[in-house]
């Protein structure tokens, strides 16, 4: 390492950042009773991110991983201009962020706001610094050292066959649940909303137009076609307002069940069409929207300076009896926040395209760690948006429909039962101001986030009349992401299924064989479609039932990734640094195993799936109907659903344990072997790319994402 000279200016800047961060945390933690501004959450986040990126990420890179700029990266060695090519670190940072960011960090924090703003803020910030960003960065590094191998391949080669197969099955199963829950969020946001359905439906012709433009008119001119698509998108949102007041409104008012059928058909058709028709143009649009909305929201918070309306810690956090999702603070707040703090899915991206494009090993902290800090910043923004709206409205929107009843009056009474207050008139006014018929029981997080964004942006731009536009702008932005993810995820699931079935029926290995594509795509679509249907029809509320399963499975995947990283650190003779991934692994295991245990074995029917099953089965045997079920059919649905979800919880946890134990076995073997075992790493080749002038070996002043 280079010897750094003492620089008083730099020292003063970092001291100021540290003081700002510490002061913001104190304000958040010590506030009692008085209203505090949301800006403190943002300041605490940015201050902590800067310190973490500058010190912890660099410590991991140089002490633990021992990045070496004299070693050629796969991008340099295999440079083919296609898969592998050395990429500017700022560009690759953007690429990687666009690939990991999605709807998860937007939805989870909104639901977790039920427990108050403090648990969410702490876990999003501390979790990303010590767990989420560490996982992303370490996986990226190990994959880069193995020429960009996937997590599954690394597991098979370094841990063994059993661990590899368990990891593969887990990834597939978890992806199905992920797609179902994301689709459920969209269904809940679009149901009975002609404005929303019309503007989202219009994205299909817009994408087709963009696809044809890029294919036939001006190939490769992505920037101009993105601007064109964006303009059309805004026109579609504005047009939605007109449609919702016209005679066409009925045609675009769809029930949740109809939407499920539409989504399943869309998912199938979109994923068997060539990529250029729908997926590629939608990808350009959603990346454009993603970065635009994050910047817009950050500016909105700065200009509007909204006050937090939520308590730091609510009674639901202490008692675990919240209506949005059941269960106590530990472990369920950590599960619910999902992708903004620690996301197992990122390990699949970090071991995908990105490691093949890294120019220098010292870029790993900015790309792996920094992108995840940015993702966490998105989650902080979502939390802020959920914590500045009226709590009465929050519960009226997020409690299950069965609890809130059919009228505004019953919803208002139910909210009073939770200890909050909102009048039926206010509920009606709010719905009207965002251009919807009703906001009651719009669960899933997306509508709540959209209301929060609308409140912040109309405040920031002093434009009350724009509320309904901003609301639908936010809904469009989330739905666009999710539909792109549904299309892309179905394709990846199909690919995995083709490979697996191909081991038995070789014909399926042929990725161009149309019947093979259709059969496997249909299988994947029906699998997530089943859970989507379950989520929409469950009398207990789909989000309430399925979201914990999604959050748990995502973090179980993180456990697998962290376990593989820890085993690799030990195998390479770095036992003394194994805590860097070992500590977050222990925490994530404690969270997910407690959650899985409670979901399977808890005697409380609100939390445990099998206790729930027993309660409803018993009543069903006696022929009685328990609220919120309305008929014996509803009762039977609950019994089936809780059996399926309970079994899945158990299977996910067992698969994870198989992988973790396989990793532990390898680690023990390495220690017995005198501290290390041979690795399956690519050989050392001297790099010929000179270090860039501004990129000193220590990564210079890599401004982290949080500052934007």
């Amino acid at each position: 390492m280079t010897v750094r000279t003492f620089n008083p200016v730099r020292l003063a800047i970092w001291t100021a950042v540290a003081v700002l961060g510490a002061a913001s945390w104190s304000v958040l933690a010590l506030a009692r009773g008085e209203k505090i501004s949301a800006i403190w959450i943002v300041a605490a986040a940015v201050g902590s991110y800067l310190i973490a990126q500058r010190f912890y990420a660099r410590f991991i890179a140089y002490k633990v991983l021992q990045v070496d700029d004299r070693r050629a990266t796969p991008a340099e060695r295999f440079d083919d201009g296609v898969d592998y090519h050395p990429t500017d670190k700022r560009v690759l940072f953007g690429h990687h962020f666009a690939a990991i960011a999605g709807a998860g960090p937007l939805v989870g924090p909104v639901l977790a706001a039920q427990m108050g703003y403090l648990p969410g803020t702490i876990w999003i910030i501390v979790g990303v610094i010590f767990a989420g960003a560490v996982q992303d960065m370490v996986v990226l590094f190990f994959s880069m050292r193995r020429n960009g191998k996937s997590l599954g391949q690394m597991a098979r080669e370094e841990i063994g066959r059993t661990g590899g197969i368990a990891a593969l099955i887990a990834v597939f199963a978890i992806m199905i649940i992920l797609l179902a829950v994301l689709a459920l969020v969209v269904v809940n946001a679009l149901a009975e909303s002609p404005w929303g359905v019309f503007s989202i439906a219009m994205t299909i012709p817009i994408a087709l137009l963009m696809g044809c433009y890029l294919r036939y008119l001006r190939p490769g001119r992505v920037t101009e076609v993105s601007l064109l698509g964006f303009a059309l998108l805004i026109a579609a949102i504005a047009g939605g307002n007109w449609v919702s007041h016209s005679s066409l409104a009925d045609a675009f008012t769809l029930s949740p069940r109809t939407l499920v059928v539409c989504l399943v058909i869309y998912g199938f058709v979109a994923s068997v069409l060539p990529v250029w028709v729908l997926l590629a143009p939608r990808d350009y649009l959603s990346t454009f929207m993603k970065i635009g909305v994050v910047v817009l929201l950050a500016l909105g918070v700065l200009f509007a300076l909204p006050d937090l309306t939520v308590d730091p810690l609510t009674d639901f956090a202490r008692e675990g009896s919240g209506p949005v999702f059941a269960g106590s603070l530990f472990p369920f707040a950590f599960i619910t926040i999902a992708c903004g703090a620690l996301s197992g899915f990122h390990s699949l991206i970090s071991s995908g395209t990105t490691p093949k494009m890294i120019e220098k090993e010292s870029h790993v902290p900015l790309i792996g760690y920094g992108s995840m800090l940015m993702e966490s910043f998105v989650a902080v923004m979502a939390l802020v948006a959920a914590c500045v709206i009226d709590p009465g409205l929050y519960y009226a929107m997020n409690a299950p429909a069965g609890v809130l009843g059919d009228s505004l009056q019953s919803a208002s009474e139910a909210v009073a039962g939770f200890g909050f207050h909102i009048t039926p008139e206010t509920l009606q006014d709010m719905a009207r101001s965002v251009g919807e018929d009703t906001l009651v029981a719009r669960t899933g997080g997306a509508p709540t986030l959209a209301v929060g964004i609308a409140v912040i942006l109309s405040e920031a731009f002093r434009s009350d009349g724009m509320m309904s536009f901003w609301y639908h702008f936010a809904i469009m932005f989330e739905a666009l992401f999710i539909l792109t993810a549904v299309d892309a995820g179905t394709r990846v699931g199909r690919f995995m299924l083709q490979d697996t079935i191909g081991n038995v029926v070789p014909r399926f290995k042929d990725k161009d064989w149309r019947p093979g594509i259709w059969i496997t795509s249909a299988a994947v679509v029906l699998a997530w479609g089943y859970f989507l249907w379950v989520g929409v029809t469950d009398p207990l509320g789909g989000i309430n039932q399925l979201f914990p399963l999604f959050g748990t499975s995502n973090q179980l995947l993180a456990c697998m990734a962290l376990a593989i990283c820890t085993a690799l650190l030990v195998k390479s003779g770095r036992l003394k640094w194994a805590w860097v991934t070992g500590a977050p692994l222990a925490w994530a295991l404690a969270v997910t195993m407690t959650a899985s245990w409670q979901k399977v074995f808890s005697g409380d029917p609100k939390v445990g799936f099998f206790a729930q099953r027993a309660k409803y089965q018993e009543a069903l045997d006696e022929g009685t109907v328990l609220a919120p079920a309305k008929s014996l059919d509803d009762m039977a649905t609950i019994v089936t659903n809780s059996t399926v979800t309970g079994t899945l919880s158990a299977v996910f946890a067992l698969l994870t344990l198989v992988v973790v134990l396989a990793c532990a076995r390898v680690a023990v073997k390495a220690i017995r072997n005198g501290g290390s075992l041979p690795l399956v790493e690519a050989e050392y080749v001297e790099s010929k790319i000179p270090p860039l002038p501004e990129a000193k070996p220590v990564g210079a002043v890599s401004t982290p994402a949080g500052s934007s």
Binding site: G81, G220, V222, V275, L348, G352, T484
Partner: protein
Amino acid sequence: MRSPGAAPPATGRGGALARIRRCAAWIRWYVKELNGEHAYARYAERARAAGEPVLSRREFEHRRVDRRDGDPREGGRCC
């Protein structure tokens, strides 16, 4: 045309107008790097340097996007 891989300088001397222009040029460069618009220029430069026949832009872009049909894991998106 500049080499597609190299970023225009984001800072430098000159009047305010010149600085704004350089900043805009940098943003344009960054966006086009990010969305893959520079891929063809990069490819064409390589192919020419290697003395290979250069595909037309249309042909190149078709092949580039069609590759994702074969392996959808490329350019994958997350939650």
